[in-house]
């Protein structure tokens, strides 16, 4: 569906539901936020499940990503502010935020800055802070295709490099590569820089008041498990769950395990 956010046309996938049920004010809302240079489609299976199981579901395209217009936002704080503006535009008072990688920093910042608007956060593939290596930043600036190749290699577990996709016939490595290649050149550098510059995440974590789930892959080479453990300590109410064998691209590599973890967290904290 299209929403007007901060003056620009913004797209959010509703999990295959039509507009009205997706925005039913009586339903608990869940917002999915993608990572660097990606779009809503990385949440396909998970967002469809929530949309069809009693949640008003929006998987967003951040500005300048996928189908959303507007210039890419240059900081995690701006992205968090945009998510809250999107809630306003959609008429959603309070929502759970599910973010992956850059999207998980966005969810963290939004929960710290707008506690009355965020009911819980699920942070997938998170490291706080999230320093980006100079070699990757340089590649993103000088040769985006090379940077995308580096990210794609590091984002998949050893298992993911061979395949065995649960989605029949899909080569997840190729799908990830092609999705990144669709983005405007310069977007990856923008997004990686935003992650790299977000330095106050651990301080902000202490201000979060809602329950948090940290979901990390045991074979994640992009965001380390050690960093996730540090964040879990900094959050007042957090649980850390490790997906054995998963890499950073966990929604594609282990879609069912990701869904089960999110489902348990959302439903449990919903009824708590």
């Amino acid at each position: 569906m299209e929403l007007r956010v901060n003056g620009y046309s913004s797209y959010a996938y509703t999990g295959g539901k039509s507009l009205k049920p997706a925005l039913d004010a009586n339903l608990p809302a869940v917002i999915f936020i993608h990572g660097a240079e990606l779009d809503h489609s990385c949440w396909g299976l998970q967002s469809r499940w929530f949309a069809h199981h009693g949640f008003a579901t929006l998987a967003v395209d951040l500005p300048g990503h996928g189908r959303s217009a507007g210039a890419p936002l240059v900081s995690i704080e701006a992205m968090a502010g945009w998510v809250i503006a999107l809630l306003d535009a959609a008429g959603i008072a309070r929502a759970a935020l599910v973010g992956h990688s850059m999207g998980s920093l966005t969810a963290l910042e939004a929960a710290a800055g707008f506690p009355e608007r965020v009911s819980r956060i699920a942070l997938l593939g998170n490291a706080t802070p999230m320093p980006v290596s100079k070699s990757l930043l340089d590649a993103a600036r000088d040769d985006t295709s090379r940077a995308e190749a580096m990210i794609n290699v590091w984002s998949h577990s050893p298992h993911g490099h061979i395949g065995g996709n649960t989605a029949p016939g899909m080569w997840m490595y190729g799908a990830s590569r092609r999705l990144m290649a669709r983005a405007e050149r310069g977007l990856l550098l923008n997004d990686l820089s935003a992650c790299n510059n977000y330095a106050q995440g651990l301080e902000r974590a202490a201000q979060v008041r809602c329950p948090a789930l940290l979901l990390s892959g045991s074979h994640d080479q992009m965001t380390s498990l050690k960093a996730a453990r540090n964040l879990a300590k900094a959050l007042p109410d957090a649980r850390l769950q490790v997906l054995a064998g998963a890499g950073h691209a966990m929604m594609a590599e282990q879609p069912d395990a990701v869904l089960d973890a999110l489902r348990a967290f959302m439903v449990e904290t919903q009824t708590a």
């Binding site: 779009d39 489609s41 396909g44 469809r48 395949g163 065995g164 016939g169 799908a175 092609r178």
Partner: protein, 431 residues
């Protein structure tokens, strides 16, 4: 810092898409010869039907053995995914039926496999889809043939029968300028000799019956989506960009940014047309693909020796192979096909139709049959078999001489093949 490395073609040919099964640890891909799959519970069943969880329901739509094959070819071609079909013809039909309906138009190379030509020229018009056939070397001709209702540009990486090399980058540019995808039949080149998706093609298919299998025991097709074409931006493909009543109002490009085509092809095309592959066939084709890079290298090595031998032989009037300097696409082939121009080619015998017949009858190693891409060497003389009713004039119009012989070079000892050909050439020269 060195760039991180991905697996090469040899490794992917053996491993892509398959990890040892979790129950018994079988190293080979198990053959899941079952029509259907038991649901764990009602919730899982509903989630599978509604695409909330990935998995298999019914083998016409997907099957674990087929999925290994599909993922493997997608990995080898650099695509986002693939669909296994009952044959190469079924793959071509699935591609077309997914993209368009009655009132649509295709621009196709005229240098096509006969089966593809039949589908486009005679059968699809009955369903309201017309095709204009163009010289694949005539880029202006391709441009001129595009109409407002054109929905696809189609050609073979190596055309039939003259091995016309499709200038994939330039034809793709023409297609994309007009908001159209380029589909190529990559059967003759395989991912070992050319990577069409990297060169600009958007979709490709294989008759896996040929080199991918190699053993000549299984008929099958594979349709690969490069994930590169922007259906939304083109605005010409409502089957992919508008809600589909046949699947709960799904808008396929919203659902999957890069795999909308595959999603519709599987959820509608396999479901409704039903030209699926047997899991047993998928297993047999996987056995072939495991050795594809090794076999293609040998196919090319043998072909080069035989082409050189025939080119110098007194009984041979002419020979057509893009690596020869006099082939019209020699320069293009050096750019796009540096690893080789395939293992199927034609040559013209002196002595016309009788010479061709005599040549065939004196071969012992080459098998006289209507197929190509087998591990065994194959031969056919069109004027006395597939085209036997045609006059010399009619043959010439089709680009075939009375003495034309088509060879598919296999993996035997090159010396044995040359000796066999010499036996046939000697007999033909006596006609």
């Amino acid at each position: 810092m060195a760039d991180p490395k991905t697996y090469g073609l040899d490794t992917l040919s053996l491993h892509a898409g398959q990890v040892p099964d979790s129950q018994y640890g079988a190293r080979a891909a198990p053959i899941y010869l079952t029509t259907s799959f038991v649901f764990k519970d009602s919730d899982q069943a509903a989630a599978l039907f509604n695409m909330e969880r990935a998995g298999h329901v019914y083998s016409r739509i997907s099957n674990p053995t087929n999925a290994v094959l599909e993922e493997r070819i997608a990995a080898l071609e650099g695509g986002v995914g693939a669909i296994a079909t009952a044959s190469g013809q079924a793959a071509l039909h699935l591609a077309i039926a997914t993209l368009m309906g009655a009132g649509s138009h295709i621009v196709a190379s005229r240098a096509l496999y006969g089966g593809s030509h039949n589908l486009l020229e005679y059968t699809l018009p009955r369903f309201g889809i017309e095709t204009s056939f163009v010289n694949p070397r005539d880029l202006d001709g391709i441009r001129a043939a595009i109409r407002p209702n054109t929905r696809l540009i189609f050609g073979e990486t190596l055309g039939n029968p003259g091995l016309d090399v499709l200038d994939v980058p330039r034809v793709a540019d023409i297609a994309h300028t007009h908001g159209l995808p380029l589909l190529v039949d990559a059967t003759f080149t395989t991912p070992c000799l050319m990577q069409p998706l990297e060169l600009g093609a958007d979709l490709l298919f294989h008759s896996a019956t040929k080199f991918l299998g190699g053993h000549g025991v299984a008929i099958g097709g594979l349709l690969v989506d490069g994930g590169t074409f922007d259906w939304e931006k083109s605005g010409k493909f409502p089957t992919l960009t508008e809600p589909y009543a046949g699947f709960h109002g799904m808008d396929f490009t919203e659902e999957s940014t890069v795999a909308a085509f595959l999603l519709r092809a599987r959820r509608e095309g396999l479901r409704d047309f039903g030209a699926c592959m047997s899991p047993l066939t998928a297993f047999q084709l996987l056995q072939g693909i495991e050795t594809l890079p090794l076999r293609m290298a040998r196919h090319i090595e043998n072909t080069r020796k035989i082409v050189a031998h025939l080119a110098a032989h007194a009984a041979v009037e002419s020979i057509s192979y893009p690596e020869l300097p006099d082939h019209p696409d020699h320069e293009l082939a050096q750019r796009l096909l540096p690893k080789g121009c395939g293992a199927v080619f034609s040559f013209v015998l002196k002595g016309g139709r009788p010479a061709g017949k005599r040549f065939i009858e004196n071969l012992r190693v080459f098998s006289h049959l209507a197929n190509v891409g087998d591990a065994k060497s194959l031969v056919i003389h069109p004027a006395s078999t597939t085209h036997f009713r045609m006059s010399g004039e009619a043959l010439a119009a089709a680009g075939i001489h009375e003495g034309t012989v088509r060879l598919s070079i296999g993996l035997e000892d090159a010396d044995d093949l040359i000796e066999d050909l010499n036996r046939g050439l000697h007999a033909a020269a006596k006609v």
